[in-house]
Symmetry: C2
Subunit: 309 residues, 2 copies
Amino acid sequence: MILTVTLNTALDITYRVGALRPHASHRVSDVTERPGGKGVNVARVLAALGHEATVAGFAGGATGQVLRERLARVPGVTDALVPCAGPTRRTIAVVDELTGDTTQLNEPGPQIEPAEWSAFLDRYEELLPTASAVALSGSLPPGVPVGAYAGLVRTARAVGVPVLLDTSGEPLRRGVAARPDIIKPNAEELAELTGSHEPSRATQDARRRGAHAVVASLGPQGLLAATPEGRWRAAPPARVHGNPTGAGDSAVAGLLSGLVERLSWPERLARAVALSAATVRAPAAGEFDAAAYEDLRARVTVAGVVSVA
Amino acid sequence: MILTVTLNTALDITYRVGALRPHASHRVSDVTERPGGKGVNVARVLAALGHEATVAGFAGGATGQVLRERLARVPGVTDALVPCAGPTRRTIAVVDELTGDTTQLNEPGPQIEPAEWSAFLDRYEELLPTASAVALSGSLPPGVPVGAYAGLVRTARAVGVPVLLDTSGEPLRRGVAARPDIIKPNAEELAELTGSHEPSRATQDARRRGAHAVVASLGPQGLLAATPEGRWRAAPPARVHGNPTGAGDSAVAGLLSGLVERLSWPERLARAVALSAATVRAPAAGEFDAAAYEDLRARVTVAGVVSVA
């Protein structure tokens, strides 16, 4: 089982409108809802790849109830969410019908009480021994300590479970110092962590700060990895057009499933890039196009990076 | 008891953001939720005025559940909503923090099945004999026949219950032909019904089409009424600044409560204008400021309109 942690789960709502105009009134022509939050997306992709995935984190209120009902219908995903009193946040993606451009509105998430945070820590420690790997994904809801991910990284490492951290800002900075096996920042998060806008330099710097391996997602350019076994750049065969929502989460699922299957780093990176591109190509945000994935996987280029240090 | 019918109830959600920018991502700083739909607003104001109000219409899904839980906490309002399979719609008001400007996103509402519509009609006929008046408010959800309001007007008139209709477009056109006691269009709805942009002419034309009394809401200029007993213009003492959401529903509550209390038309209009202005002044959309209402009520001017016909 692969464990994914999403402390700030979400009910992801997509609205279609003609075109969003500030300070006007809009009739929404189509509404879709799905369980969301980065770790929930990772779990869904892992399950589609044939892995058992367990989702931990919080769910509360009417939105949390809907999220859990929807999650129960996803084969291969087990719900281990801990109840909280505050309502699970909604995210609203308003898609302009003609252009596909998206405006995003993200609620902050529920206030997590100390007793709820304790209940989550107990659940996490219960689940870890049966996990082959763990992903810690996304933002922290109000009330969760800023060093939360650092603690979760240490607990996983103490019981020998490989841990991937995918977050930003201060929770990432503190989490890196706890020496996670992998971090997967995007270019902006990596620059914020290291102060360097030069990805090759920044990935190496992030390793010096504590991450064993750093896989930076560079959008359409693919991934740049700095690991104890070497450095690689992995890129899709051509620029992929579509909706990038969830592409980073698919990359995380590719990296973790590859780790658990004991693939080499170049194989893991090829899988992650292909999954990521197949997610951009899928019509629904955060799903992936299985045929595109199979096609792309053989055509991703993975090249070793020569050290300049 | 005054009955209010809201076929397309809503969970009204308000988001505060820095400033809405199309195609950007926004962190919502504050989220509020309240039971909505025009007839629900009317019922809340009626209850605040000391009348017992019963809310009929549909509620379904997780949003319908939240709406009913919130409604149960409003003193003086009785929930007589009929369950439907589809989820009650959300409306989202995105308020820019600095300017207070609002962008509105309205979901279409649930598909109402024929058996659900039948169940509503049974409920309506059960409730009517105990009602002193009925308000039919707002849009029709998908699946409800476009002549729905015309039928509801006829049923109410057949049992001698005065009926006020507040809707737009084809449902208003058909409803007017069924001879409701009062309609309360805004300037745009009135122009669409009659083809005339001249309110004085248009209110008289709407009477000829079947409405016994027409009370047009002209925004900051107040109300213009054409009734069997005369014509009046009622205006607030000064321009009121604030959020106009729900002002029309407060006017409906003023008219209906005045009718039930057997107030004269000028007294009803003064109450409706004062409530409407006190709603614009209240900090939360759709609430009214009780002190402002008492103050304004004595200062509204009601003037007879001399016939030009």
